[in-house]
């Protein structure tokens, strides 16, 4: 039980780290959104599942409610994260941000 919680949380943290490195390293903001929209979803899911397991140590109504609410946060993040990504990328496309391509790389 404890081992499962630790493994899930550490995997989530590793994915969060990769996401953050991606946000800092990718060349333009379309590719940064690739990192932001996907990495966040899965790592939030992993860490919140771990916390749900940890808080659900004995079966009673209060614990069940807490677990259900954490599950609600997970479901909400799953719907909201792609939608927010979509809204941001649409705003960028409308205001005319040029996507980075291999050809547009300056020679230096």
């Amino acid at each position: 039980m404890t081992l499962t919680v630790i493994i899930l949380t550490l995997t989530g943290i590793v994915f969060f780290y990769a996401t953050t490195v991606g946000i800092l390293r990718f060349p333009d903001f379309y590719s940064r959104l690739h990192a932001a929209g996907k990495g966040d979803t899965l790592s939030s899911l992993l860490i919140l599942l771990a916390l749900m397991l940890y808080n659900f140590h004995e079966l009673n109504l209060a614990n069940l409610l807490v677990a259900m609410k954490i599950l609600l946060i997970v479901v909400f993040i799953f719907m909201a994260s792609p939608t927010a990504t979509h809204a941001i990328v649409d705003a960028g496309y409308e205001s005319g941000v040029q996507p980075w391509t291999k050809k547009s790389e300056p020679e230096d």
Binding site: T9, R32, I73, S95, G96, V97, Q98
Partner: protein
């Protein structure tokens, strides 16, 4: 187990500081919105972790839920607002500046 969760929370804070670089330095306004959105997702998780550490998850999980909702609405509203502001991009990032050919 508590010290493990404190360590996880500190790691999340460190990652939030790294993301703060993107939220402050830009280069476009939309990058900043993205940085704020990512920081908000991490804050939601951090709130649940804080609740676990203080043994008051039943209270903190409500705050986390409200924070997730607010974060989503902020992102949608800000990106809708910037959608029609074509002059907010710095030099060299849009179609417009490139076609004027200042280089």
């Amino acid at each position: 187990m508590d010290s493990f969760f404190i360590g996880i929370g500190l790691a999340l804070c460190f990652l939030m500081l790294l993301t703060m670089h993107r939220a402050i330095h830009g280069p476009t306004a939309i990058d900043r919105i993205m940085g704020v959105n990512v920081i908000g997702t991490k804050t939601t998780i951090l709130l649940v972790i804080i609740g676990t550490i203080y043994h008051r998850v039943d209270m903190f999980v409500d705050i986390a839920l409200a924070y997730a909702l607010l974060n989503f609405i902020v992102t949608i509203a800000a990106s809708r607002y910037f959608q029609h502001h074509k002059n907010l991009l710095p030099e060299g990032y849009g179609f417009k500046h490139k076609s004027e050919g200042e280089k």
